[in-house]
Amino acid sequence: MPWQFKSGLPVLPNNSQFAFGAFEMQISEEAALTAQPVEDFRIDSLVKEGDLVAQGAPVLRSRRQPEIVATAPMAARVASVDLGPGHRLSSMVFFKEAAPGRHEYDTKAAASGDAVALRASLLASGLWRFFRSRPFGKTPVPAEIPSAIFVMALDTRPAAPDPRLALHDRIGDFEHGLRALLGMTEGPVHLCQDSGDELVGPPDFPGNFRLIRNGGQHPWGLAGLQIHAHYPAAINRPVWDIHAEDVAGIGEFLRTGMVPETLTLSVTGTALREPRLVRCQPGADLRSLCYSHVKPGLHSILSGSALDGRRARWLRHRDRQVAVMVPDGAGQGGHWFLSALHRARRPLPLVPNAAVEQSLGGAFPVMPFLRALSSGDAETATKLGVLSLLTEDLALADYVTCAEPRLSDLLNGMLDRIEAEEAA
């Protein structure tokens, strides 16, 4: 039974400002595969600086799970491979070159519905990294069988591109990809979409297909909230989520044998003259996407939305929007005594009000959960569903409450602790 949530908070600007089909195609001259130090993504490089690589060809391999690879975002020459301590990926930069063309995989066995072959080709083509497994939000290990998969055709982050726009010319591929996902698990595959027309709904889908319609506001378009409400993740119950456009990418891959070249991206923010909707390669150079569109003056480029974005040079993995913000000058100035006083007592107390309740959708005991989080009470937080959530899910609560330290950082710390305890 699809459940309709109406709660949430309106965060401006919303995503209705983009006209249907107004994409600009822009493949930037440079692109990079990057990882944050906290992700601890240890890799072996499969290419050297100066090598020519075809779009979609594997360029690096995880050291922990050698089956997991990442592929070149475009036909290019490898400009630099920058590894941190312990072979942790910092960045691998590519310069565009047309010559190498696109890498082609053999997907006949996978496309015929063989589940083992499907896994193998998703791993070999790097599309495996589209999946994110909860609890803890890592790329799933190759042998992991998900208890449920959530396909997010819904994104309520401020100024996020409407997945409907990304899918409108790829519905066939989307359906094909969804069918492949339905074969990957015995458990339910939830398709979360807005309250408009059904994106797909052929009657011959297997019985584990579930449609979730949601007309709510932010944060109901985040996978974490939907998973928390419909199929909470737990230690022995991994739940995967994947963006609907990536599912269409899997469908395209199975049809053509080629890794999809582009993703749909919104470029918005207070420092931009007008919002843009572009299709660019993964890991695109954010400066080239903003260049000639920013207002004069200082700006900072965030990969991600204005709520949960991080300052970045390259588009981060899984991000589908770029926020170009005028720095608000917070943290500067002010009397030394007041700022010292403000920093003296951490964490700042959380006072319940309606906005805080709605910042997590209002559907579960929000204040006890946030209090457990800020006091580090992992047991209560686990009972209330912390294992279904990730950093991005608390970005709105951070925004609303101005919490110090940030609730999303506290969540990260708590998840790390729980993971370490489980591993021990």
Binding site: S300, L307, P349, V351, A354, A355, P365, P368, K383, Y399
Partner: protein
């Protein structure tokens, strides 16, 4: 990157805004005497806040002004300065500042201060609140609910019990003013009220039920004493209501999800 506005002080300012109708009605009824009292309590609470700021690096809060206003409206008139000082200091220090300031406290400082005075000086002359102060509680609750700092569920819990009481024929015509003022100034304090949806219904209903019970059974008490005692019991029970609400939520969730 971008930050919102609902930190502790915003909530405190919204609570002050909600208390404004009550403040105006009270000043109209009592005149300059009211202003003088308010200044006295503001100074006492303010001094304690400054002391804790200097000694313990606790930022002072506008919630202290709400505490002072509440005590100024509700405290007995004929008490000596020493008794008022002692009661206010006990409430502000022991119920609020010793816990780390507003937002970390368990009980409302004004409730504790008034309960202290009520138990310590039982024979004192509690003020008779003018009827317009009671009516001013309605716009106060409206402002609080519209700005999101007071819980509609809590107020509905109170309303349900009140309707049942009136239907059962219990006479609260002499005490309701104190009950309504204590409700908007102290019981609705979001920090010490229950924090879950179901818990707030129970908390509001419990306050109202205690208030009605004391009205019927505690013959020689002043209406303000009755309301303060009910508020004290309700905020002591608030965490229990939260626990019950969480247990019910977990039970239903586990049944639904399996």
């Amino acid at each position: 990157m971008i930050r919102g506005i609902w930190d502790r002080e915003t909530v405190a300012l919204m609570l002050l805004a909600a208390a404004f109708p009550v403040f105006v009605a009270w000043v109209q009824a009592d005149g300059w005497y009211a202003i003088g009292r308010l200044i006295f309590f503001l100074v006492v609470a303010g001094i304690w806040h400054v002391i804790f700021m200097l000694a313990r690096a606790q930022p002072p809060s506008f919630a202290g002004a709400l505490t002072a206003l509440t005590i100024a409206i509700l405290a007995p008139h004929d008490l000596g300065i020493f008794a008022l000082l002692l009661g206010t200091s006990f409430g502000v220090v022991m119920a609020e500042l010793a816990f780390g300031g507003w937002g970390r406290n368990v009980l409302n400082p004004a409730v504790v201060a008034l309960a202290f005075i009520s138990f310590g000086y039982p024979a004192s002359n509690w003020p008779e609140l003018a009827v317009q102060i009671g009516w001013a509680a309605f716009p106060a609750a409206l402002i609080g609910v519209l700005t999101g700092v007071m819980s509609l569920r809590l107020l509905l819990g109170v309303a349900v019990v009140t309707v049942i009481t009136l239907y059962a024929g219990v006479d609260i015509s002499e005490t309701w003013i104190a009950g309504a003022v204590v409700l908007v100034l102290m019981v609705c304090d979001p920090v010490t009220a229950s924090a879950t949806r179901l818990g707030r219904w129970a908390y509001g209903a419990f306050y109202a039920a205690m208030f009605v019970l004391f009205t019927c059974q505690w013959g020689d008490a002043a209406p303000i004493q009755i309301a303060v005692a009910a508020a004290l019991l309700a905020s002591l029970a608030a965490p229990l209501f939260d626990e019950i609400a969480i247990s019910i939520w977990l039970y239903r969730r586990n049944r639904r999800i399996g």
